[in-house]
Symmetry: D2
Subunit: 255 residues, 4 copies
């Protein structure tokens, strides 16, 4: 069970809702993923303005926990303003803090990310913070009181997978709050890897929405995350340089 | 569906039966894996001599396809003799050819492996051949007529995973018979990776039997193999150097 | 030529002076490395107090540019105090800012690192800053005006090499000041790799001082850094999936 | 010193002579590399027919040991015929056996490679054999009596570097004859890596001849190979998960 603040989830897959080929595919992918938490950019979505087209209109939003993100914010101030707008709608009390520091890599700005997280915690939000895999920065966020840290595996939408498993595992090892790997997961293997390192969950979007068959990929990711988690819990055998017979035949008489 | 010779299987996980902490755990792991093909060393097992203790006694063997292997053979001649012994029992007509060329690495002997495969094909066996990931050797085996090639991901029992994804993918790309990755898979991520490369199946033993919780790991591997296969079929997004927004907000008015 | 602030160096290897088996080996390693910049912890060295034993006593310090570091500092304030002490000696006007945020990983504290760098720039120091490989943080340091950014390849003394070549190359690509890879380089190959990515220089200590033969390793590292730099300048051929004959014989008559 | 059969060489870089932009660049690259052994395809070169243009005409061949290869051979018989033609010229008594089993990957045919090596040894050649990184195959070649085994790092001309360091190091560990890594080296780091694993030498062609500046790359490779060898001899420090201070300041009074 994934616990974030006072909420509990069966699924460890947080799914983004952007960039699907159609709203129908989006809905089917969300179902195949068995996701319980859906994320979306507040600036992109008009769900708070009933007169506008709604990018989530095919989803029964009462079944999901909504996790709006502050995508588009480049300063703490902007992120706070966006988060407040989302909360004012009454649809959600969690927010994913995302303050971008570089347009090319969409990597986060560490100082503004810290500031935005601090301010939103003061305002009573449940704060999940997208961060680089800087180990000390992740610790500082946790010390502020964020409810989950969300280190990127690699740049958003890059599908490069877990580029730095060392940092990710150090963040997981030191953390007393959930670590949700966010950004860069490209394939089921990447997802399984992050989970084997001990991550509490994974947030995905492009890997599913831009796959040739998003619905099938959503199912693949669901299974991969379960597989990686079970593997982590089951105790993976250590690597060895040399071989070990799986069916030892020493001392067994030749037939 | 995995097709080997004239047989069809739902499961793409072939499970070894050696080295479990107990026969009870072995049985539960086999069930959790939902494996349909079980492998074992002919030399190790006494299933062909009803008066002896039987390492598979807790399994209902009528539910599984048995894939005896020639572990312990160092020459083609030995492998052929072991294979014939298994067939004589009437329990199986498939055999996994395994001719070891090095005690330290348990890596196969290419020349003896070719010879043993050729001889057993002449004798009418359904032949699945354990081989190194030598690309041309795999092609030569296929040209002989083997029913599946089984390249190692890394040495048996080493848990090093897919050390050479290039060779594995070249073997898969060139092959007209099933490619079953055999040996070296250590974790769910390794299994998912091999499947994403397009493998038709995976044979596992140590990764499950030597895990802290073999039954849970069996389930993890089952899911990982399904995840990797679905990912392969669903079309994994290509890696990019730079980021791509999953929720593009250019042109979206700031709230 | 490596240019830092108004200084120019032939060597791209910055060598640490700690942890050698003896002062004699230290001196020989410094010579074999042909280093021009030597680094040391201000807190560790007594070179500023002539009455004390001096860890650099076998080196002719007039031949080298000294780069004291603020190792041991956990806050900007401490780092600034240590840096001022070094400058007051009159032996150096460059300082390597190092503010540690985690005792286990010795990874830097991003916020205190920024603060210390800013303050020391205001005080007129030539500032080289040890940082994580956080891409945006490196950009923020450059915007402050630091004279070089020094991202870690992996944790200090870990010998894990370049764990995240993506971030390192993004930092190099964006930077208008020298990028000197600091920490984690373990072997000549690691050093060559960092240089091939376009780094301007490398700071090493443990890889040399803790090698079985530090003097020989110092020479190995000197050559590896030159090799990597030349390779970067010479234009490395791109990787291909398939082979290309180095001696094409199509159309060449068989002998 | 690299010893092959009864010959001794200072340089551990064997350089191919194909595909340079011009014969002038070829000559300068050979000089910059300080190579002592030059390799070329017998089928490609007309050095044995004085009336024809000669691809090595700018080189003073009396200064080098010539290592003709049997590129273009697909069977043992062809390889033997090509090798004999080279020897008949009186210019060389060494030969690199190369029997290709796949046009797409230019990977070697294991069975024909063994046959050709055996036959040429019987004929009194000094035999260096290009092989895959199949560990047992390399052992079988050594048992035949070849004077050096030449496992590929990755496919010829692919520049993919050392794809399988495990197999390479197992081959090196088991071998009593020189192991010369042949094919696939793309950059100085790749060359240093192979040498750090304990290789005795490296054969390069495309990485140099197809670089933007082949002469500079030749020098880079020369240095990288020296660096890797020195590193191997100097004893590389083991990797650690956590950090170790290079300038420990515990117990050192703060300034």
């Amino acid at each position: 069970m994934l616990k974030i603040a006072n909420k509990t989830f069966h699924s460890r897959l947080l799914l983004g809702t952007g960039k699907y080929p159609s709203l129908d595919v989006q809905r089917k992918a969300v179902q195949a993923a068995e996701a319980e938490i859906l994320t979306f950019a507040v600036r992109r979505m008009n769900i708070f303005e009933p007169t506008q087209p709604n990018f989530l209109e095919q989803l029964d939003l009462t079944q999901y926990t909504l996790l709006p993100n502050t995508a588009g914010a480049k300063t703490a101030e902007e992120a706070v303003r966006i988060a407040k707008l989302a909360k004012a709608s009454g649809l959600c009390d969690m927010v994913k803090v995302e303050v971008i520091g570089c347009d090319k890599t969409l990597l986060p700005d560490p100082v503004e990310t810290l500031k935005a997280s601090e301010k939103l915690l003061e305002e009573g939000f449940i704060v999940l913070t997208y961060t680089s895999d800087d180990v000390v920065l992740a610790k500082r966020l946790e010390e502020l009181g964020v409810h989950a840290v969300m280190p990127g595996a690699s740049p958003i939408g890059s599908a490069q997978g877990v580029v730095n498993p060392l940092n990710l595992s150090l963040i997981i090892e030191q953390s007393d709050v959930p670590v949700i790997v966010d950004a860069g997961i490209g394939s089921p293997r990447d997802a399984a890897f992050a989970m084997e390192l001990g991550a509490d969950g994974i947030l995905l979007n492009t890997a599913v929405s831009s796959a040739k068959d998003p619905v099938k990929m959503a199912e693949a990711m669901k299974l991969a995350i379960e597989a990686g988690r079970l593997g982590f819990e089951a105790g993976i055998v250590p690597k060895k340089r040399y071989a070990t017979a799986s069916s030892p035949v020493e001392g067994v008489p030749a037939p």
